[in-house]
């Protein structure tokens, strides 16, 4: 009887497999190639032309940099042999190890200086050019006409094949971390031959691969495939035979494929599944504190909400305390986020749960009402605080919850959502300062340092379109603390300064931390070991194996 039932089951299974054209699933379980969730890169695969995850995930595996980070974000030298600052962190001497590009060419100091100059040169229209803006000579390469594209950054000097020096236009103690970002990868001699070779490289960067994997092929809108780099000697050695990044039209489709065993790993979970994915027997789940911070910003000079007036500060504190962050992370995010207590993330060195004044980030209905009433006593606010966000990014439920929470606390007509259909429209409104209300902001770090979260978003030098300080917040005291941190090469000392600067932010609330997005995702049952997420909320692809 039992045997018969088994036979029937086997026949049914076989029929189902034939129907589903089992080719893909059988090949993916036999080989040790990891298939991973991705979107089509926005531009191409030139490292300095990538600033989003579609291109960033493959690029991180293909291109080694001077330093690399382990899963926790701790830096270690990769191609660099040593990175030595001078006393005030304005000049660095960099020595490199013996390292080879995939085409056999040895990595020379020149491959770094030329790659960085290429990226900084406006003529080459690289999206990440501003990453190089602290290197001396950057401004000379920002002319809109007259550049050939081959001009070099004057701050970079090749000493010999294995050594070069970097002169910065201002002290920058985090520079040794910055060079771990993909845009700082070296490029091979063949890249610089002419414009056509650079363009070809963007489509097929095989020659320039220095990382744990070597580029294999790119089928546009379908997949980017890479194979294990046998010559790689760094700390990120691949435990599998390759990674294939598949382009998905939606996270829902990808999740279904992980459940069915057709896709091995994804670093997202569709909204419909966040409640259940950790209990889902068809997948392996991962969900731990992550490095992304989600905030919203109210422009520093918005009437009734100025960061430098008493009324504005009261209102900002009232709004912040009217938001029930833990209800949002529990109910809306189903535990895939953590309420914030500072302006960085639990994965960032120097993160603190006990900053002075962090009670403004905690829900306190009575206090919020009281502060709001105090502000109203100074000057009555009868308008509506609108919350703008792009509707194509899945932020709707968060902002509905924030608005409901504020209205339930401060009065039913205080806040309203204002979705914008596309990211294009939203960013345009933000950069043109057209939003008279709160708008969605957030930060995914480029390198693991509090500086990356603070300078780019709150320093006056990053305001007025020169950085990501989209609320145009300006505070001289804050700027001075950051400048001090830049000049110290002692990390602990720097972290203390960052914490002090955050205490200023907690008082004036130029932006409102809402939650830290967890690093969470799922892997298929085919993956036998190595599934975890790193400090960038991305899977540790190179550690995963199906054997």
């Amino acid at each position: 009887m039992k045997n018969k039932a088994l036979t029937v089951a086997a026949v049914v299974c076989a029929a189902a497999m034939m129907l589903s054209g089992c080719g893909s699933s059988s090949s993916s379980s036999d080989s040790n190639i990891i298939t991973a969730y991705n979107s089509e890169p926005q531009k191409n695969l030139i490292p300095s032309n990538i600033n989003e995850t579609g291109g960033g995930k493959p690029a991180d595996l293909l291109f080694a940099r001077l330093v690399s980070f382990d899963a926790k974000g701790n830096p270690s030298n990769e191609i660099a042999d040593s990175i030595t600052p001078n006393g005030d962190a304005t000049q660095y001497t960099i020595k490199i190890k013996d390292w080879k590009f995939a085409n056999g060419q040895t990595v020379k100091a020149e491959n770094f200086t030329k790659a960085w100059s290429y990226a900084a040169n406006a003529k080459n229209a690289m999206i990440c050019s501003s990453f190089f803006n602290t290197i001396a000579g950057y401004d000379d390469l920002q002319k809109t006409s007259g550049l050939k594209g081959t001009e070099q950054l004057s701050g970079l000097k090749v000493v010999d094949d294995k050594t070069f020096t970097v002169t910065l236009s201002q002290p920058d103690s985090v520079f040794p971390l910055k060079v771990g970002y993909t845009a700082f990868a070296p490029l091979p001699d063949s890249f610089f031959k002419d414009a056509a070779s650079a363009k070809a490289f963007g489509q097929n960067p095989k020659d320039g691969c220095t990382g744990p994997y070597v580029f294999d092929h790119w089928d546009h809108n379908k997949e980017i495939a890479m194979l294990k780099n046998a010559d790689y000697n760094g700390s990120r050695k691949a435990q599998n035979d390759g990674v294939t990044f598949k382009v998905y039209t939606s996270d829902t489709a990808a999740y279904a494929d992980v459940q069915a065993g057709n896709l091995d790993v994804m670093e997202a979970v569709p909204a419909a599944q966040t409640k259940t994915f950790e209990k889902d027997a068809k997948v392996q789940a991962y969900n731990k504190a992550g490095s992304v911070i989600q905030t919203f910003t109210i422009p520093a000079s918005l009437e009734h909400f100025q960061t430098n007036t008493e009324e504005g500060q009261l209102r900002r504190q009232a709004v912040s305390m009217a938001i029930d962050r833990s209800a949002i992370t529990d109910k809306v995010l189903s535990g895939t986020g953590t309420p914030t207590l500072d302006f960085t993330s639990p994965m960032t060195p120097g993160y603190s749960k006990s900053l002075k004044g962090n009670e403004v980030l905690k829900y306190n209905k009575a206090k919020a009402k009281e502060l709001w009433a105090k502000a109203d006593a100074i000057s009555k606010f009868s308008g509506k605080l609108t919350f703008s966000y792009n509707a194509d990014g899945g932020h709707e439920s968060i902002y509905k919850a924030i608005v409901n929470s504020i209205n339930n606390t401060l009065g039913s007509e205080v806040a309203a959502t204002n979705p914008m259909p596309t990211f294009n429209e939203f960013r345009d409104a933000v950069t043109n300062r057209k939003i008279a209300g709160a708008f969605r902001t957030g930060w995914q770090p480029d390198y693991p340092s509090a500086e990356n979260y603070l300078f780019q978003i709150f320093d006056s030098k990053a305001a007025d379109g020169n950085g990501s300080n989209d609320g145009d917040y300006k505070n001289a005291e804050f700027d001075a603390l950051l400048a001090k941190a830049y000049a110290t090469t002692d990390t602990d000392e720097a972290n203390k300064l960052y914490q002090q600067s955050e205490e200023i932010l907690l008082k004036e609330l130029p932006a409102f931390p809402v939650y830290n997005a967890n690093a969470y995702g799922v892997a298929s049952k085919n993956v036998k070991s190595g599934f975890a997420m790193n400090w960038q909320n991305l899977p540790t692809y190179e550690k995963m194996t199906k054997k």
Binding site: N51, A122, N221, A253, D428, A462
Partner: protein
């Protein structure tokens, strides 16, 4: 007839000009700046942005951009996307998949729509007429993203009968579920249309006459009732085939199909003018051809309609 065809073909020229201009204007009027958005949350480097604008002619006035596009289109150069891909390649990758998907959805909705519609129309008021009415009603009043999601979960994950997603180079089986989801709403429309037409034609005098002449019931149905009931149905189907190609956005997204609907959606979000205009123009040409076929079918279905 030949003259009629020639006239229809010549009419395509102003239609193409009108469509491209209209779509180009709409894309131009899209709020937001695609170049700024490329920098994400990061600061916009004005020098780099200027380079990119110049490369895509985005620094020129609208009408100049349009004429540059038209001029290049005459030499079959439809420009490139912001990622540097040729528009023609992008379309070449997406169309074959979508054509397969749309044709399958089309056959599905036509066959089942007409069959259920005929059953329903002939047996009006019977219990299965009611069941068909309620099912078709459900298909219409539940959005596709829900039917698609449920179908994927039930057939793909829970029962493992059909593939969960279509993926790259989808086969017939891969596209079966997406095609059914895509065709379901239109099928409901066709059921309703066929039912109403059959039930009104069945009472026409010519049916009685045919019966009185001793024609078999089957022949009456096929030769007279069905043929006479199909005009609105054919009209609907004719315009639907092109709508299926352009409007498959939701089913393509759910089932991971990199087809035209998805491509259109993405390029609208990113403000990819050249791509949107090229896709819409191509879709419009398909509409024109389908409508021509429908108009010719009118004449075949109803001998009284003639074209000079």
């Amino acid at each position: 007839m030949g003259k009629y065809l020639l006239r229809r073909v010549l009419q395509v020229i102003p239609v193409v000009l009108g469509t491209t201009l209209l779509v180009y204007a709409l894309v131009f009027a899209l709020p937001g700046d695609p170049v700024k958005a490329m920098f994400g949350d990061k600061p916009v480097n004005p020098a780099v942005a200027a380079q990119i604008r110049a490369e895509y002619n985005l620094d020129k006035p609208f009408i100049v951009q349009y004429f540059i596009f038209l001029k290049n289109a005459l030499t079959l150069d439809f420009g490139k996307t912001f990622s540097g891909q040729l528009v023609i390649d992008e379309i070449g990758r997406a169309f074959p998949i979508t054509i397969r998907l749309a044709l399958m959805a089309f056959v599905f909705e036509a066959v089942f729509g007409i069959i259920f519609g005929v059953i329903s129309g002939l047996k009006k008021g019977k219990w299965y007429d009611t069941v068909i009415l309620i099912v078709s009603l459900l298909l219409i009043s539940v959005p596709t993203f829900v039917t698609g999601f449920l179908g994927q979960y039930l057939f793909g994950i829970k029962w493992s009968i059909l593939p969960v997603t279509a993926g790259n180079d989808p086969t017939f089986i891969d596209l079966l579920l997406p095609a059914m989801v895509l065709g379901s709403v239109s099928m409901a429309y066709i059921i309703r249309l066929t039912r109403s037409e059959i039930s009104s034609n069945i009472a026409e005098d010519y049916v009685r006459t045919a019966r009185a002449k001793g024609m078999s019931n089957r022949q009456v149905m096929l030769r007279h009732v069905l043929r006479n009931s199909l005009i609105p149905v054919v009209t609907y189907l004719g315009q639907d085939i092109a709508a299926l190609m352009g409007g498959a956005m939701i089913s393509e997204t759910i089932f991971n199909i990199h087809g035209v609907g998805w491509l259109t959606y993405q390029s609208i979000l990113k403000g990819e003018g050249n791509l949107v205009v090229s896709i819409v123009t191509l879709l419009m040409l398909i509409f024109v051809v389908c409508n021509l076929i429908v108009d010719l079918l009118y004449a075949a279905l109803d001998p009284r309609i003639r074209y000079a």
